[in-house]
């Protein structure tokens, strides 16, 4: 049996939905999946994790109980779990957390890591990921004793697998901290991290100001979408940088990406080109995005988006 660890990310005491695709990606014959949970829980997640193929839930804690967020100590804890349970492959979701923890674990163990994988082949130890800002897909071959993979949210569809799981506590011994955490602030207004959203509706230069983003927000509420933006909208100060999609913003891969008044620059595409379906709403039929979308409407977003919101609302009320 090959032992594979999966760092389980949770939010508000629920497993992040995008985790299930990651677990699906790690599954295979002759493999035993360990779900590493850090939020002080374990039993609460057992059934959901087992439904996707995890057979061992490991509730990681220190002698003092739950391990508070500190990327350095979390990485130390993961290294101990991997060494003691003889786990030599670790999976996770590409997120702000894993971008801060996985490279630490990889560096501590001096082993390879591929962040933001689009596909992983565990048997051959290869992984595919974007290279050159999404313009190409590279296949990496890894050499080493342990292997780390963080998978882009939503690129691998979650499939259930019947199974049961046991829950074990695992107590790590933490060394001194090399960095201390003074504060952690999550924006309470932010509902879902853009990178995990299944539907995103984004606005660009054509939005014109901050207030107009309300038009997108209203539509987003009906279809449970997150709102994104192009760099122009961010640099103009209309929306925060956390909403920027693209090469220098967040990389997203939703089921549906609706671009409103966005021209479709290479740098914007770098952050959303793996979306399953791209919709463009643009006054210019010659805009770049019209050549690279699934469905396009040539029109004024200030007319089209409210119509979309209205029709979606009507459908929702009828169902």
């Amino acid at each position: 049996m090959q032992k594979i660890g999966i760092l389980i990310e949770t939010r508000d005491q629920r497993v992040k939905p995008a985790m299930y695709g990651v677990i699906t990606a790690a599954r295979g014959p002759e493999r035993e999946l360990y779900g590493l949970v850090f939020d002080g829980r374990g039993r609460e997640y057992k059934d959901n994790l087992a439904a996707y193929g995890i057979s061992r839930v490991v509730a990681v804690q220190s002698e003092n109980g739950m391990i508070a967020w500190n990327p350095d100590t979390w990485a130390q804890a993961i290294v101990q779990v991997m060494e003691q349970l003889e786990i030599n492959i670790l999976f996770g979701l590409t997120s702000a957390w894993t971008k801060d923890i996985f490279p630490r674990v990889a560096a501590m163990l001096d082993v390879p890591l591929v962040l933001d994988c689009l596909r992983v082949d565990i048997d051959n130890l290869t992984a595919e990921k974007s290279r050159f800002s999404g313009k190409t897909i590279a296949t990496y071959k890894l050499h080493g004793s342990h292997f780390l993979f963080a998978v882009r949210p939503n690129v691998i569809e979650a499939r259930q697998a019947a199974g049961t799981a046991q829950v074990d506590a695992f107590t790590v011994r933490l060394d001194h901290e090399r960095m201390t955490v003074e504060a952690v602030e999550q924006d309470p207004a932010a509902r879902v991290d853009l990178s995990e959203a299944e539907i995103i509706i984004s606005g660009g230069r054509a939005m014109g100001n901050s207030d107009n983003f309300q038009i997108l927000q209203q539509c987003a509420e009906i279809i449970d979408a997150a709102v994104g933006a192009s760099r122009v909208a961010v640099e103009a100060g209309w929306v925060p940088h956390s909403m920027q999609v693209g090469q220098t913003g967040t990389t997203v891969s939703p089921k549906l990406y609706i671009a409103c008044g966005i021209s479709g620059s290479v740098q914007h595409f770098a952050g959303m080109k793996t979306s399953e379906v791209i919709v463009a709403i643009n006054t210019d039929s010659g805009a770049n995005i019209m050549q690279s979308c699934d469905y396009g409407i040539v029109g004024d977003l200030f007319e089209i988006v409210p119509l979309l919101t209205g029709q979606l609302k009507a459908i929702k009320n009828n169902e």
Partner: protein, 255 residues
Amino acid sequence: MKIYVCVKSVPDSAATIRIVGRNQFDEHITFIINPYDEHAIEEAMRLRATNEKAEVIAVCVGRAEAAGSLQSALAMGADRGIHVTTDDAVDSFITALALKAAILADGQPDIIFTGKQSIDAEGFQTMFRLGAVLGVPVATNVTAFALQDGIATVDCEMEAGGRAVFRMPLPCIIAAGKALNNPRYPTLPDIMKARKKPIQTLALASLDLPTPSAGMEVIGLRPAVEDRRRHIIAGTGEQAVAELIRLLREEARVL
């Protein structure tokens, strides 16, 4: 105070990547300093401004042509450059070892700035490997930086606009995020002046690096295919929206 900045030379994001063979690309395109590394240089310049004896040294591992990106760093104000030259495609293991060797052969770093990611490899990891081989702490995606009494305080961007504040002693590695600062644009005189600044060249092979026990190689490269339907929906706004919703539900099945 010795401030080192790691700068990578990367293809311009606007350049077309033409794949050659199985895993190469046509490198006759414009290379630029990795955009995040400009934020690293900018922060180094701001730190130098508070300390008369500080020196900013830009370090780059790459082909001979990468010297152009070191020139950009010098034009932004770095005092001098160190160029570790190699024609091979080097992974983050070797890059970290080379950066360590080049830096320690030059001086004792008080602080090292890097970018949070390179826009070509998108590895998100070289700074952590450098931190591990040097035995110093690392903070990534840094959006604010302050230094007092040998302790660095940094804000790091977390998910959905959240932030974490860390403190760590020097020496340490600070990996710059985009929100850290606005990089300065060099003026023509800056660029002229940069040409007179020294760049030391070291061949990677001459550094006598230990052989890494692990590695990653690119064995395949292919264009990201944009296989899109490109269906432009006609009709009045009302009609087009109705048709769009129908297609999203019945054809694409994403609503």
